[in-house]
Symmetry: C2
Subunit: 440 residues, 2 copies
């Protein structure tokens, strides 16, 4: 887990602000949940691999009985949030009556997984989720795809693709290949790695997991044939018909067709081999990729069964999640941050400090400058003027206001432009307008 120094935080906030703005422009409302959930809320929601990666919190006080503990569950009752979707499902089930029948929320918070760190993968990382609760309409999927596209475009990405699939398509393909329902989860976890380990890798993993080799070959052959389908509109329907008609239901194909129609303009393609790792998806699934990153920048899907696990009512739901860290890794490598973010400074102006006796006057000048919207730092202790200027240079502040005894006596200030080195003494009331003029 990492510390973020000021330059890092500014980049993170730049990306988060764009994500927030776009989500809000689509009518998503902010929601926040605690970092800590009851352990039982999380267990069994993410598949077997997920269970292993949950950070568990030690029981406290009398509840902790080390002597008689036999398992992790005897020692732990709480856990760190693993994603933002399961907490959302819990919130919806608990607050159904306080929320509108269609509820669109966004949530930008960290999650924790006890995973091995890799490029763009950390044990603490931020998810930026937008979910719509209460509707089974494909307009929901379409809006989320459009929102993600707009976010990535506003961040400067122009080479991303949004791969889409449907859990029923996968199920139908596995059925067609003769893979039993009990093996579906196992097979999906292997297929999810297709992009990383290739066809041969997946074949090996399926074999190791005891899947019949002819069935496994048939699944991979179907993926080979369908490929990634890039057509749209009438065309996509023809392509899908040609490749999948005998396998997939008309209803699912119609849903896929709708999403493609509604998202015209976004780089969406149908990829029948897209699996997604999490076990709670029930319908459409998506994943967003760029060429220079093995993992995905975003992912999501429909999970119509999850909320029912926390309440009596089964409520349809669908969401998308942007991975902040991966977006930042790619933007950093490509140099995609605007200059005002990449080269930001702690303040617009430094006010010098002449002596203890003039300190109150330096603070007063700082307060006047702040009132006009400037960010101002005061040199904290009496020191040689050269040292104060050098410090201003180190922290890259563009202006220094020198306030010595003569300036105070004459109600002036000596303004030094740190970029050009020029300086001039002027009435205190004129300092702000000159800085604004020079700063343009």
């Amino acid at each position: 887990m990492r510390d973020f120094l000021p330059a890092d935080v500014r980049k993170r906030n730049y990306v988060i602000n764009i994500i927030k703005q776009v989500y809000e422009s689509y009518g998503f409302e902010p929601l926040e949940t605690p970092a800590v959930e009851n352990l039982e809320t999380l267990m069994g929601k993410y598949g077997e691999e997920g269970n292993q990666l949950i950070f568990k919190i030690l029981k406290r006080g009398e509840k902790l009985d080390i002597e008689n503990a036999r398992s992790e569950n005897d020692l732990s009752d709480l856990a760190l949030r693993y994603d933002l979707t399961v907490p959302l499902a819990r919130v919806i089930a608990n607050n159904r009556n306080a929320l509108p029948k269609f509820f669109k929320r966004y949530q930008i918070q960290p999650v924790w997984r006890a995973d091995r760190p890799a490029r763009g993968r950390f044990r603490e990382f931020y998810q930026c989720d937008a979910d719509a609760i209460g509707s089974a309409s494909m307009l929901v999927e379409a809006e989320q795809i459009l929102a993600v596209s707009e976010i990535l475009r506003r961040l400067g990405f122009n080479d991303f693709t949004i791969r889409m699939n449907h859990r029923e398509i996968l199920r139908d393909i596995l059925d067609t290949a003769g893979i039993g329902v009990n093996d579906h989860a196992t097979v999906l976890i292997a297929i999810d790695k297709l992009d990383k380990i290739g066809t041969d890798g997946v074949a090996k993993e399926l074999s190791a997991r005891g899947i019949d080799e002819s069935a496994s070959k048939m699944v991979l052959d179907i993926f080979e044939q369908t490929g990634k389908i890039e057509g749209r509109h009438a065309e996509i329907n023809r392509t899908i018909v040609g490749n999948l008609l005998n396998i997939v239901s008309q209803e699912v194909l119609a849903d896929i067709g709708k999403i493609l129609r509604y998202t015209a303009g976004a780089p969406v393609l149908l990829d029948p081999s897209l699996a997604r790792g999490l076990s709670y998806y029930t319908g459409t699934i998506i994943e967003v990729n760029v060429p220079d990153l093995a993992g995905s920048l975003a992912g999501g899907g429909r999970y119509d069964g999850l909320i029912g696990m926390f309440g009596k009512e089964q409520i349809p739901a669908c969401g998308v999640s942007l991975g902040l860290e991966r977006i930042l890794v790619v933007m950093d490598e490509r140099g995609m941050f605007p200059p005002e973010i990449a080269g930001s400074t702690p303040a617009d102006v430094l006010v010098t400090l002449w002596s203890d006796e003039t300190a109150a006057e330096s603070l007063k000048l700082a307060s006047e400058l702040r009132a006009s919207g400037l960010r101002v730092t005061v040199y904290p202790e009496p020191d040689k003027l050269g040292k104060q200027i050098k410090y201003a240079d180190t922290i890259k502040v563009p202006f220094v206001c020198v306030l010595g005894e003569s300036e105070i006596a004459e109600n002036t200030v000596t303004l030094k432009n740190m970029r050009t080195g020029e300086q001039q003494t002027l009435p205190r009331s004129n300092a702000v307008s000159l800085m604004k003029k020079l700063g343009e």
Copy 2:
């Protein structure tokens, strides 16, 4: 620990944004640290009571040996952040060369304490800290007091007081009363409760902790005599001299006098009985109170010894911490939120959906409206118009754009003003300007 629904998050963000703006205007830079720290980083930094309240994380995989575990330390290696000051000290010690010699950072993040919840006290809560590293000058304290005052004033508080004290004043008072150095920490923890349990309560607690009764009486008598000293400038010096001259060093009195001079205009008063619970403070300490809350809205102090515990170098430091939850509790009870925050809506306009066939057109209109800066939500599925209007009313959206087959054919939109109930059909391109006009 609590969930925050949209109306809560908006209030929280309103307060956080003002805190951020003011901190940034004072030249503080943003820093973020992970929620999870090594357990050993936190242990022993907060006093004995603090150690008990740290949430510990269970070891994972092979590191966890339940059978042979004898203590909590055998079972846990990580812990949840308990405050933002100790992580900052660790960051400074680790990154000394990457940071300027004077480093001012702010940090607004949650911390966790396994405490009994009370009014304004939660197990997960946000601290909003501003700290200055590298200078022992009293200008540092003054700037932080001024920043906190400005934040509280901008939030609408006008009845807060900033109590100030110095750990050396307390030490000198305890010495004068004949309390041995080894009992100082115990006595300070009891004195810290003076506001909550009163003089008698503290006397009882001191007696229960085995402190000599005549010494304990003398300490409380001194506090009685000094009271809370409200004077300023020359006056404060006279008052302090009268009450404390024989006890406290000239140097500390001079420092206190400087802070009072530099913060003229802020409601600062010297309270020789102010103790603060945390063990790492070494110099000035402050606490900010309002009449209608037993706890404090903010607190802070100088901790010149803490960074040295993580590195070779002893570096002076001083900080202040605003408690977000307590500020929110008081603001909620007093009704201090501006109407646009208290009555905010998920969107500015709802676009209706006529049928699957017209869905793409509704999405297109939504996209046009968003391009002009509006927050737009689209009704997700075909439904009776009355139901769509009713939903818009439920979520309190001020405008509805009805887009039926005739509107699409004629390139118009029917705009309904939800406040007045009036509606009119107009060219699509005019909808935005009319909404902006009506919204004023």
